[in-house]
Symmetry: C2
Subunit: 167 residues, 2 copies
DNA sequence: AGTTAGTGTGTTATGTTATAACATGTAATG
DNA sequence: CATTACATGTTATAACATAACACACTAACT
């Protein structure tokens, strides 16, 4: 059974989770994928992915660079952007446009159009699948337009923060 | 006659329109709104809105600044960003995150969660209402999360460009 | 009038995010 | 062992955005 502690009083979309499991699963998934696709999961790529998986929230490219620097990698901007582009291309990372941040994909196996739910107060970000978001998945064609990529970000306030708000 | 062949075979969402009418309507709408809300439609604000309405596609802040400069306004960055923020706040302009661009709202009367459809080839951008996009409007609450603002951008290729593609 | 508060614009400087262009290294292929 | 493909490194700069402060104008008071 998938470990998932009871979670009644936290917002349902900002699920708690066992991070050790999450981390291990994600590494395994990316390893398998890279082998299958004959891609190189180099130390740099692995490190960037690990940084994102660990933080489990959007990081700016320059935050990532800083962390890279601390672990002995080069930390000039193109390093981060190139690796991020690569990981995005293969579905392991998403860019959160509203925050200029990058986040590890929480389910790289789905080919999907992710929706991000962003609390403006606590800045938690949840990636939700189309089914759970209450959004219909965009139909692949809208009036003769072929969708290749979506950016769907819902910004607002989570119940925890709302309850804490003074006003 | 405005060049625009009958457009049953062009993408329905990139509708042609009579730009003179569109422009006039938009100006009237913003004037009415500002009067009703007792806001100042200053020359600068009007000019920025006109620039966007005229171009009818997303412009970068610095493009707007350049146009402002040519008409005798100041063209230092805060000028544009301040006015844009103001117009966005009141629903007359949207930011297209994927392009770092700003576009006049095509229907400021609707309070709405707009969807933008963006052709990556011709770079045309259409604002579509929820009904037409095939997307459900996001429910105001998703699992205890209150949505205040949405960014929904669908990037891909319009049929016109697709037909023209070599591959 | 004089004072105060609110708003709008102007200016300088700087912060933040992202990319261009070119150099080097390394591994696989023919 | 030349060629190609790919990954990384480096310098410089482009593109996007905001902070902080200055000044002008109006409205609404005392």
């Amino acid at each position: 059974m998938k470990k998932k502690k009871k979670n009644e009083n936290s917002s349902k979309i900002f699920l708690g989770h066992d991070h050790g499991v999450c981390f291990g699963d994600a590494i395994t998934q990316i390893e398998d994928y890279f082998i299958k696709k004959k891609l190189q999961l180099t130390p740099l790529r692995r490190k960037v992915f690990e940084i994102l998986i660990e933080d489990h929230k959007p990081l700016g490219a320059y935050e990532i660079l800083e962390k890279l620097g601390k672990t002995g990698f080069s930390s000039s901007p193109p390093i981060a952007y190139r690796v991020l582009d690569f990981l995005i291309e293969h579905g392991f990372v998403h860019k959160v446009q509203g925050l200029n941040g990058f986040i590890a994909c929480s389910n790289p196996n789905h080919s999907h159009f992710p929706t991000f739910v962003i609390c403006r107060k606590c800045e938690k970000v949840a990636e939700v699948s189309e089914e759970k978001s209450g959004l219909n998945l965009p139909s692949p064609e809208i009036s003769n337009f072929k969708i290749e990529k979506t950016t769907i970000e819902l910004t607002g306030i989570c119940s925890t923060c709302e309850n804490a708000e003074i006003r």
